[in-house]
């Protein structure tokens, strides 16, 4: 009976089990639900202009070759051989923290004929990438570093291809000027020119020696095996007293006046972004109320933004709001005709006013809570999403249980939402428009 109860809890909770491995935080979630095993390594770094470009370039260099697979083509063939393992190394940001991520997903050998040790091979490969890179005379191969510098430059330069993403990056730069959060996780082209194989190698060693490392594994695995594989295949250097916490500088500027920024490009549709500071982040007790606030305002098709900007005024195809939970930014986004700029801004500001006045129906509350409930429950069906949820808790310093968060959301009142709206301040209005007129 006891066993059954535990299963029942696990099905509704995201319960990673810690595994003791020196120098690393290993989190395992055993489940038979998936046809694959997912492994994700997260290395934390402070988001800053000084290192952002290096971290980004490092992710690309590590991805290309290892000591065991010095030729990129051999590395790629090895992944094919592991039944088309999904493998990626990338960077991202969470609040004012940059992350270097190694992602690996392999088929559960249970579903393949006569195959074993596919998972161990995956752990071994992660170890190769992380701890046994290709070094020539002690430094990364100059050829690969130079070729990846070109790749990173292309990546940075092609952000403009996706106008939604571009507008988002531009407003972040303007809104958070002078704060670490303005830094892109890919860094910038200028800093890229300064990096060479020797300096990148030195940076790599420092990162591995000093920065917190997390390894998540989800799938049909057992703790004893995981521990054995990691110990055998991921050989970290002698580390400073285990996992130095990265000291986050959390900047929180009060808004004195709303900035307005307009950029012009050859576009058919204008992108309107309005960025707010909420002064609430993931760790705060008001966070569940902020989720409900955001849900009523703009994150769903029943939200005020969608209904008023799109359905009633017919100004846009999309009008949404999104949270950056670790920085506490709420971003409203819409694609409009530039001639409707003032009209759209007015309607959006009106919606924020309604939130402040508490003009929120019981139905808006219940729809938002029900939709949030479903959204969080859906995380349980994806290994990657469960890792993301657990990691958000870890980096915030307030790891919530899924069930606790759901309970907190269900208890939020209109008054709680109104209190959140008192804290939310519009900071910057950004418009990316065409080159006609003006």
């Amino acid at each position: 009976m006891k066993g059954d109860d535990q299963m029942a809890i696990q099905e509704h909770e995201i319960s990673f089990i810690p595994i003791e491995v020196p120098g690393m935080n290993v989190h395992m979630l055993p489940t038979q639900k998936f046809k694959t095993i997912t492994i994700m390594v997260q290395i934390e770094q402070v988001l800053s202009k000084e290192v952002a470009t290096k971290t980004a370039l490092l992710s690309l260099v590590l991805k290309r070759a290892t000591a065991r697979f010095p030729e990129p083509q051999k590395l790629s063939e090895h992944l094919d051989h592991l039944y088309g393992a999904i493998f990626d190394v990338d960077v991202s940001k969470k609040g004012e923290r940059q992350l270097l991520q190694i992602y690996m997903e392999v088929a559960n050998e249970r579903y393949l004929h006569n195959e074993s040790s596919l998972v161990e091979s995956a752990v071994q490969f992660v170890g190769d990438v992380m701890t046994r890179p290709l070094l020539v005379d002690g430094v990364f191969s100059t050829e690969i570093v130079e070729s990846e510098k070109k790749s990173l430059q292309q990546r940075i330069e092609s952000i403009i291809n996706d106008k939604m993403r571009y507008a988002n990056q531009r407003i972040t730069e303007e809104m958070c000027k002078g704060e670490p959060y303005a830094v892109s996780p890919y860094g910038d082209v200028e800093d890229l020119q300064q990096i060479d194989a020797a300096s990148l190698t030195e940076y790599y060693h420092t990162l591995l020696r000093e920065n917190p490392i997390h390894l998540f594994i989800v799938g049909d695995v057992e703790a004893s095996n995981v521990k054995e594989w990691i110990t055998a295949h991921i050989n970290l250097p002698e580390r400073q007293p285990a996992a130095i916490p990265v000291t986050m500088q959390h900047t929180e500027e009060a808004v004195s006046e709303v900035k307005e920024v307009i950029d012009q490009l050859d576009v058919a549709q204008a992108k309107l972004n309005m960025g707010c500071r909420t002064h609430i982040t993931y760790k705060d007790p008001e966070y569940p109320a902020l989720l409900v606030y955001n849900g009523i305002l703009g994150s769903f098709p029943h939200s005020k933004l969608f209904l008023n900007v799109r359905e009633k005024a017919s100004l846009a195809y999309y009008a949404v709001s999104r949270l950056e939970s670790h920085k506490g930014i709420l971003m409203m986004m819409s694609g409009i005709d530039s001639s409707n700029y003032e009209k759209a801004v007015t309607i959006i500001k009106e919606q924020m006013e309604l939130m402040k006045k508490g003009t929120i129906s019981e139905e808006e509350m219940s729809m938002t809570k029900a939709t949030l409930y479903n959204q969080y429950k859906e995380l349980l069906d994806s290994g990657r999403m469960m890792i993301e949820f657990a990691f958000n808790g870890i980096v915030s310093g307030n790891p919530r249980k899924l069930q606790d968060l759901l309970k907190e959301i269900s208890e939020i009142t209109i008054k709680d939402v109104q209190q959140v709206s008192e804290k939310v301040q519009l900071d910057t209005i950004y418009l990316l428009r065409d080159k006609k007129g003006v």
Partner: protein, 425 residues
């Protein structure tokens, strides 16, 4: 309900065709929180010219997509609120060949399924709301106009096809949708939304018996007229491409290049069509995949970038492959691709690489079965072509190197090739 079990992937599928003609498929997945249901009609942007009970009808381009938007509207308001009350996520999409309505939820699955069936089967179109929708879809069209990936893709289709409607935008143009009114929407609805033209697929953590009962009761309680005789009218399409090259300008960091190859012979269905798809993809993977000598050489030289890749699409009446991505020097890359084609047709394909790609394809297929959204949509799309999603691995295993080599020779021919480029002004 009948069942079929697929041991290798450990799945059991329940299926039945109801008396009104609706095909129902249920795939319960143990341990999943979420249920995903998709209700699809075999009606897409390509179907703008047809005969209904002998009468020939031409409708404005983009009407299938327009209809998809308007089906959410009901006399007493928007159906969106009903889903939202239950916390469900819902959506719809239109492709060249089908229109799908879907929801996912972890709770109140039965209520949500009933909402899905009822709103799709009870249309309500009104004049003013049709007019209002033109503004919204106008913005959707403009959003796509700014999207370089979409531009390079749709331009390529335009270059490849002389007449076939896949060369037109799914959403139509601002001009074409201005001609849509509620009567036209009703005509299209009556033609293409009969249950016999539709598939319902439900997958996830639901109770199979109660869901079966709900679907049967819900359908039995509704009256449907006799299934209409639909005859789609498609223009003849010759093998030769319409234009060798097409260019557009948009603000992009790096130019985009798509090279397309159009199928010359069509008309396949079922296993033959699946085999063609899988062997084409295997061949393209050997020649242009990330472990191909081509990719590695040109990644190092900077001619191809991270996003370089290929895809293949095949339907009963048309098919094409696309090779490309961000390309700093599109003209040179086209020449290099042509070199590979020449070499492949002279020397054939590498046996070891072929076996490796086969293995990779099997693993990737397994992985895709983690996604209940993928299962539902891919299953439906295949079913309209009489293909079974769970036949992929057995079919893959049977494909030989000789077949793939032959396939590459007949498919990758210069006369069937077109090039699309998007670059900055």
């Amino acid at each position: 309900m009948k069942t079929v079990t697929f041991d290798q992937v450990n799945e059991t599928l329940y299926y039945e065709t109801l008396p009104n003609g609706l095909s129902v498929f249920l795939l319960p997945k143990e341990g999943f929180s979420k249920t995903y249901a998709v209700f699809t009609t075999r009606y897409g942007s390509n179907d703008s010219h047809f005969k209904l009970n002998g009468k020939e009808i031409r409708v404005p381009d983009g009407i299938a997509h327009f209809l998809e938007h308007k089906l959410f509207e009901k006399e007493q308001g928007d159906v969106a609120a009903e889903f939202s009350r239950n916390g469900a996520s819902y959506n719809a999409f239109t492709t060249f060949n089908r229109t799908a309505y879907l929801f996912s939820s972890t709770d109140k699955v039965e209520e949500n399924l009933k909402i899905l069936l009822d709103f799709v089967q009870e249309p309500y179109f009104s004049g003013p709301s049709v007019e209002r929708e033109k503004g919204i879809i106008g913005q959707e069209i403009q959003m796509y106009d700014d999207n370089p990936d979409w531009k390079v893709y749709t331009n390529l289709l335009q270059a490849m096809y002389q007449e076939y409607p896949v060369r037109l935008q799914i959403a139509g143009t601002i001009e074409s949708i201005s001609n849509i009114d509620k009567d036209l929407l009703y005509s299209c609805y009556e033609t293409f939304y009969h249950p016999s033209n539709m598939i319902l697929f439900v997958v996830g953590g639901f109770d199979q018996e109660s869901i079966t009962r709900l679907i049967k009761d819900n359908q039995a309680a509704k009256d449907f007229s006799q299934a209409p005789e639909i005859e789609r009218v498609f223009p003849d399409e010759i093998a030769q491409v319409s234009k060798k090259q097409i260019e557009a300008t948009l603000s992009v960091g790096i130019p985009k290049l798509y090279i397309g190859f159009k199928e010359a012979v069509n008309g396949l269905t079922g296993e033959a069509l699946l085999k063609r798809e899988l062997s084409t993809k295997l061949g393209l993977d050997v020649l242009f995949g990330t472990s191909s000598p081509f990719y590695q050489k040109h990644y190092d030289s900077g001619l191809v970038t991270e996003g370089f890749g290929f895809d293949y699409s095949n339907e009963h009446d048309y098919g094409y492959s696309i090779i490309g991505g961000d390309a700093p020097d599109p003209e040179r890359l086209v020449e290099e691709v042509k070199q590979v084609l020449k070499m492949a047709s002279e020397e054939g394909l590498d046996e070891e690489a072929f076996q490796r790609q086969k293995r990779k394809s099997i693993g990737l297929y397994m992985r895709s079965l983690n996604s209940i959204e993928f299962i539902a949509n891919q299953f439906t799309s295949y079913k309209f072509n009489d293909i079974d999603l769970f036949d992929v691995v057995p079919t893959l295993e049977k494909i030989t190197l000789e077949e793939v080599t032959e396939r590459m020779k007949e498919h990758l021919r210069e006369v069937q090739m077109a090039v699309s480029i998007v670059r900055s002004p």
